[in-house]
């Protein structure tokens, strides 16, 4: 059997399968409408560990109880990357879930999938009070003025620090560093006093590079960070990005920076007291406070001095609605009601308390303030206060890139190469930019 025959067979089989699939979907779709069954909404998510319980037992179960004619069925689909991959596969197969939780890095992919229903299309005017939502969070998932997905677990990066180590080094335990220069001065004192082995570390190196750009109101990619047409070139190898990486490299050379790996790997070094400061996602604040054996302080992410004021960038994930073969009005109503439920002050406040992700609405923030939560847990408020500062511009709304997962991988590698001295910062970033641009070109070619 040669390839042409094989692909003919494959195509014939595909047509047959799709026909049968559509027939089945139509047949099955007709049935529940007639039955008295509650309308089922499937939700694919990537919340593992303790958050699995929060999403399954608290949120889904709570919603189902409050809405007996609807049932939300959450399904843990692996890591963020795996959940998106499976959702796309399901899109191809024609039977995607109603809602899928996609990390912020997958935004461009979802926008280009042709398989989503933007949130603004399914929410009737006035049904959800978008004005109550925390603006920067909505802005991440808004393109061209339309809101495409529903924010759920949003975070940003802040700096955590060991108050005990600060005190031992003769620093004020209530004053975290505000600039890179502060990090250097305070860091030198810390290392000199021996109160910690190293001054600072950070997780998510690519994200930190993106943050440093956003905080300085600088674009990370062309076409207004990919928000005004698809991005074709990254800009992190311009002088500013190189300067940031060169700064980090100097910290490493001075033994101020102890690079501890990607994502959440460096948390351990901070928790064990080896490193005095940690730049990390605010979604870890509950975990870190619980696990640390010393008083933990938090502060705004340190900025590069002498730069225009920007704003830190949103991370985390959001809920996307998938078209499938078409959603009935009842299904759409269920989805909207679920989104409303998740944003109810009590619900989003509880989610925030358990994790550290932002409470989604201003009402929720007010509720937590009234309860004295922030007074008792000032660290939980830091990220929120940080998001209130600065300006809103394409540079601060977050960059949208195709093949972003791979690009983050490339940038992580470049940063690691520079920090370990394998390549000078400029060469490392130039190399990464070249590869990233190739990926963006490939993405552009196949996503016409």
């Amino acid at each position: 059997m040669n390839t042409r025959m094989a692909s003919w067979f494959a195509r014939a089989a595909k047509v047959l399968a799709v026909t049968l699939g559509v027939a089945a979907a139509v047949g099955l779709g007709a049935a529940p409408a007639a039955a008295q069954q509650p309308v089922k909404i499937t939700l694919w998510h990537a919340m593992g560990g303790a958050r699995y319980d929060a999403i399954t037992k608290d949120i889904a179960a709570g919603f189902n109880k409050a809405n007996p004619s609807y049932v939300v069925e959450p399904l843990y689909s692996g890591s963020y990357a795996e959940a998106v991959t499976k959702a796309i596969a399901a899109i191809r197969a024609g039977n995607p879930p109603h809602i899928v939780q996609v990390f912020e890095v997958g935004t461009q992919t979802m926008l280009d999938s042709g398989a989503i229903i933007p949130v603004t299309e399914i929410v009737k005017p006035g049904e959800i009070n978008f004005g109550d939502y925390i603006e920067p969070i909505l802005n991440y998932y808004r393109v061209g003025g339309r809101l495409y997905s529903m924010p759920f677990n949003s975070s940003t990066a802040i700096i955590y620090y060991n108050k005990e180590a600060f005190q031992k080094a003769g620093l004020d335990p209530n004053t975290p560093p505000a600039t890179f220069k502060d990090v250097e001065e305070m860091g030198r004192k810390i290392v000199a006093s021996g109160s910690a082995r190293a001054a600072i570390t950070f997780g998510w190196p690519s994200w930190m590079l993106e943050q440093s750009h956003a905080l300085a109101n600088r674009l990370y990619a062309d076409h207004d960070n990919g928000r005004n047409g698809r991005a074709t070139q990254v800009l992190f190898n311009e002088p500013f990005g190189v300067e940031v990486l060169a700064r980090w490299k100097r910290w490493a050379d001075e033994k101020l920076l102890a690079y501890g790996g990607r994502e959440y790997a460096p948390n351990k070094a901070f928790l064990s007291g080896e490193v005095a400061m940690l730049m990390q996602s605010t979604s870890q604040v509950t975990t870190i406070e619980k696990a640390a054996r010393f008083p933990v302080g938090t502060g705004f992410l340190p900025r590069v001095e002498g730069q225009p004021a920007g704003k830190s960038v949103i991370g985390g994930a959001s809920f996307w609605v998938l078209k499938g073969a078409g959603r009935s009005p009842k299904e759409l109503d269920a989805i909207v009601k679920f989104f409303k439920f998740v944003a109810e002050p009590e619900e989003t406040a509880k989610w925030h308390e358990e994790t550290g992700y932002f409470p989604a609405t201003k009402t929720a923030v007010g509720l937590l303030t009234k309860r004295g939560w922030f007074a008792k847990h000032p660290n939980h408020e830091t990220a929120f206060k940080q998001m209130q500062q600065g300006i809103d511009s394409p540079a601060t709304r977050g960059v949208l890139l195709g093949n972003f997962v791979q690009i983050r991988n490339i940038t992580d590698t470049a940063i690691e190469k520079a920090l370990s001295g394998k390549l000078p910062p400029k060469e490392a970033l130039d190399e990464a930019a070249a590869e990233a641009n190739k990926l963006l070109a490939e993405y552009g070619r196949i996503t016409k």
Binding site: M1, T3, A6, S7, A10, A81, E82, T85, I88, I91, R92, T109, D112, S113, G114, A115, G260, G261, R262, A265, K268, S272, N403, V405, Q406, N409, I410, D412, T413, E416, E431, E435, K438, E442, R445, I446, T447
Partner: protein, 293 residues
């Protein structure tokens, strides 16, 4: 012909299921992989864009893939060298008439029953940077504090140890079988002639073992190239910093996480070339005594 049945249709019927499955699920997809390698494919529509040799060119030029190949060869080399040497040593020890040989052999075979994912999980625990027994042992013996989560070199070592450990019993069993085929009289005759144990081993035992050794070399290499995905995915996810980013893990990332089917297929073809080389070597050098052909 003696002993053969005359039926004409039956052999086809007996062969049909195997042939059908091989053609439908192995051969046709493999040919399609060859075709797909020349395309860039949209993950949403499955539509392909012909790009000629572009995928292969990217693979050759990119640092990340070159590094991945190096790491894979390094890890495979470690598993083959360290694993097979240790197994051979154990097998030589165990090939003397011993009481309790059966017990040793079963015990040493235990790790073979585990999956690479489980083996990876257990060794991640053993080498846990704060509490793992292996970490503590190494600290006590050498004063070093290996943290495989942060240090790429250590990560490679832990991967090699975990992977070689898993194959230990399998290699030992085959070496033992091979050693049994060495005629005792030959060894005794050499020893009577005054040859030391080492010379006996190198001049007599090892050459007779070479078919088995070669067979195990191929099996261990295939294992290192293709079977370690579970171990890497559970333990290191290719890290830290790409230190354990083996070819099969890269393939998974590109093909299924980044949904670049064309690029993934190009990597499949390169892997096929490597399998081809190994298998060709096997067919050329394998003696009649090798078991699984």
């Amino acid at each position: 012909m003696e002993g053969r049945f005359p039926n004409r249709i039956l052999p086809y019927a007996l062969l049909f299921p195997s042939i059908a499955i091989v053609v439908a699920f192995l051969i046709v997809p493999s040919l399609q992989a060859l075709r797909l390698a020349f395309f860039e494919v949209s993950p949403f529509t499955g539509r392909g864009l012909f790009v000629g040799l572009s995928n292969f060119r990217v693979l050759m030029e990119s640092d990340i893939y070159r590094h991945s190949l190096e790491i894979t060869l390094l890890i495979a080399g470690g598993i083959v060298l360290a694993g097979m040497t240790a197994s051979l040593a154990v097998a030589v020890l165990a090939s003397q008439p011993l009481r309790g040989l059966g017990v040793y052999r079963v015990a040493i075979l235990w790790p073979y029953a585990l999956s690479p994912a489980v083996a990876g999980t257990i060794w991640a625990l053993l080498f846990d940077p704060s509490t793992g027994p292996a970490t503590l042992l190494i600290r006590a013996l050498t004063g070093l504090s290996p943290n495989w989560m942060m240090n790429g070199t250590y990560a490679v070592w832990v991967v090699v140890i975990a992977a070689a450990w898993k194959m230990l019993g399998f290699n030992v069993v085959f070496f033992l079988a091979g050693l049994q085929a060495v005629p005792g009289e030959l060894r005794e005759a050499a020893q009577v002639d005054g040859a030391g144990a080492a010379r006996v081993f190198w001049r007599i035992t090892f050459p007779i073992l070479s078919p088995i050794t070669f067979f195990l070399f191929v099996m261990n290499s295939l294992y290192a190239f293709f079977e370690l995905f579970g171990l890497i995915d559970v333990m290191t996810q290719g890290g830290p910093g790409g230190a354990t980013d083996i070819l099969i893990y890269r393939l998974y990332q590109d093909a299924f996480i980044s949904a670049r089917w064309g690029m993934g297929s190009a990597q499949s073809i390169l892997l096929f070339v490597m399998v081809g080389i190994l298998t060709a070597l096997q067919f050329r050098f394998a003696g009649r005594r090798v078991f699984y052909g």
